[in-house]
């Protein structure tokens, strides 16, 4: 690899770093001083080995592409403990969300269910459709049978706007 290659790479990383920062608004990964308070209380540390302080330092060092194509950014449960406890307002949670957005933009591999839910919202406005549920004694119920009012869905105007935003 030539020096020129390295320099172009560094540049593209800077651009990606900027993209992350632009989305973050009031949380600041660059203020992180690696106290690890986030990681010590992270819900996904034990089961999925998520270490939010490492995500933060990798972003600061410019390893954005590596993170974007890694499964690790999809292991966060959104428990918001790191956001609450970070003494530096670095909030790894927000950084992870920004990395996920970037993964979508760069067409990296993302969990299928997320795309399904977006398709569902485009179709009906809702992330889930009303289902028939079964009680403990095996009787079936829908909203009507339970005396719940009909759901009034959003109209197509909303869908067009939503679609436009997703399209960038």
């Amino acid at each position: 690899m030539t020096l020129t290659d390295l320099m172009t790479m560094a540049k593209s990383n800077e651009e990606l770093q900027k993209k992350i920062r632009n989305q973050l608004w009031n949380t600041h990964p660059d203020e992180c001083y690696q106290c690890m308070r986030c990681t010590s209380g992270c819900t996904s540390l034990k089961l999925l080995e998520l270490k939010p302080h490492e995500i933060t330092i990798l972003v600061n060092a410019g390893f954005i592409e590596e993170l974007v194509s890694s499964d690790i950014i999809w292991t966060c449960t959104s428990c918001l403990k790191c956001r609450e406890r970070c003494p530096q307002k670095a909030s790894p949670y927000n950084t992870i969300m920004a990395l996920r957005n970037l993964a979508v933009e760069q067409e990296a591999k993302i969990p299928e269910k997320y795309m399904k839910v977006v398709a569902q919202i485009l179709e009906t406005g809702m992330a889930e459709q009303a289902q028939i549920v079964t009680s403990k004694d095996m009787q079936s119920f829908n909203r009507e049978k339970l005396g719940l009012p009909e759901i009034q869905q959003a109209d197509d105007k909303f869908k067009a706007i939503f679609m436009k935003i997703l399209g960038g």
């Binding site: 989305q23 608004w25 009031n26 819900t43 996904s44 089961l47 999925l48 999809w74 292991t75 966060c76 449960t77 959104s78 428990c79 918001l80 403990k81 956001r83 609450e84 909030s91 969300m97 920004a98 996920r100 957005n101 979508v104 969990p111 269910k113 997320y114 795309m115 839910v117 977006v118 919202i121 406005g125 809702m126 992330a127 889930e128 459709q129 009303a130 289902q131 549920v133 009680s135 403990k136 004694d137 009787q139 119920f141 909203r143 339970l146 005396g147 719940l148 009012p149 759901i151 009034q152 869905q153 959003a154 109209d155 105007k157 909303f158 706007i161 939503f162 935003i165 997703l166």
Partner: protein, 293 residues
Amino acid sequence: MEDEELKIAVYWGCKIPATQYAYEMSVRQVLPRLGVELIDLKGTSCCGGPVRSINNLASMYLSARIMALSSKTTGEGLLVPCNECHFMLTETKHRIDNDEETYEQIGKLLSEEGLEYSTDLKIWHVVDLLHDVVKVETVKSTVMKPLEGFRFAVHPGCQIIRPSEIGRVDNPENPKKLDALVKALGAETVDYTEKLDCCGAALMYSHEEAALSLAGSKLKALQAYGADGFVDTCPYCHTMYDAKQEAAAATVGGKLSVSVFYYTQLLGIALGIEQKKLGLHLNQSNDPRKFNL
């Protein structure tokens, strides 16, 4: 607020009106009896919760859209009984109200549908609406059938107590409002170390096994404390602990039989409302009817 009626708009989100009927039924039953009249929003859409991982602007637009719909009603605020929706709306509100650029951007998008964002909307969850507005004392004095002799473990959930900087329903590290509301019904609550553990629901999109194991470990720990039941206030948490309890048990190796209730179901029972009207028959975990409440 015993004698004055409070009129408030309600946004149910996606999960509650799609499967979590018991929560919707019990909220619709109990609030009017405590002087809160609900106005259903029309033409709602998703709050943007799952969309945040895909496109932040799109998720903020979705949240803002709900707030704009609410501002069109005569309600004195918006009740959001789902923890996730409550977080998404409050988080978006915090940004729109403090970031001029986002305010303009979102305002423009909403105007394409003839909607307008208003900064003075007050957002409530069931927990703070009952605790801070209706007041614990009023709940207590309205109880007809006290749940004496029962001990419950409460699950405050993550997203209505954090992050405190945007204004949340309770203390982020030591939430007590749900405990107080359970005690107002004449029952006791259990202090337990795992109280703040996350249900894992958000991981159902990508790591189902881990998600179930998070829900399972909390219930497993809880069984050792000998509580009579588990109380939550979020359709996502409730699904993990109730409908998915058996699957969760399989991931933590052991049998789980914890009766899981929405707080509003317990409240309804204590107010003397018929169990069927509270959706008790829809709970999937260890049959709550055995309580003979």
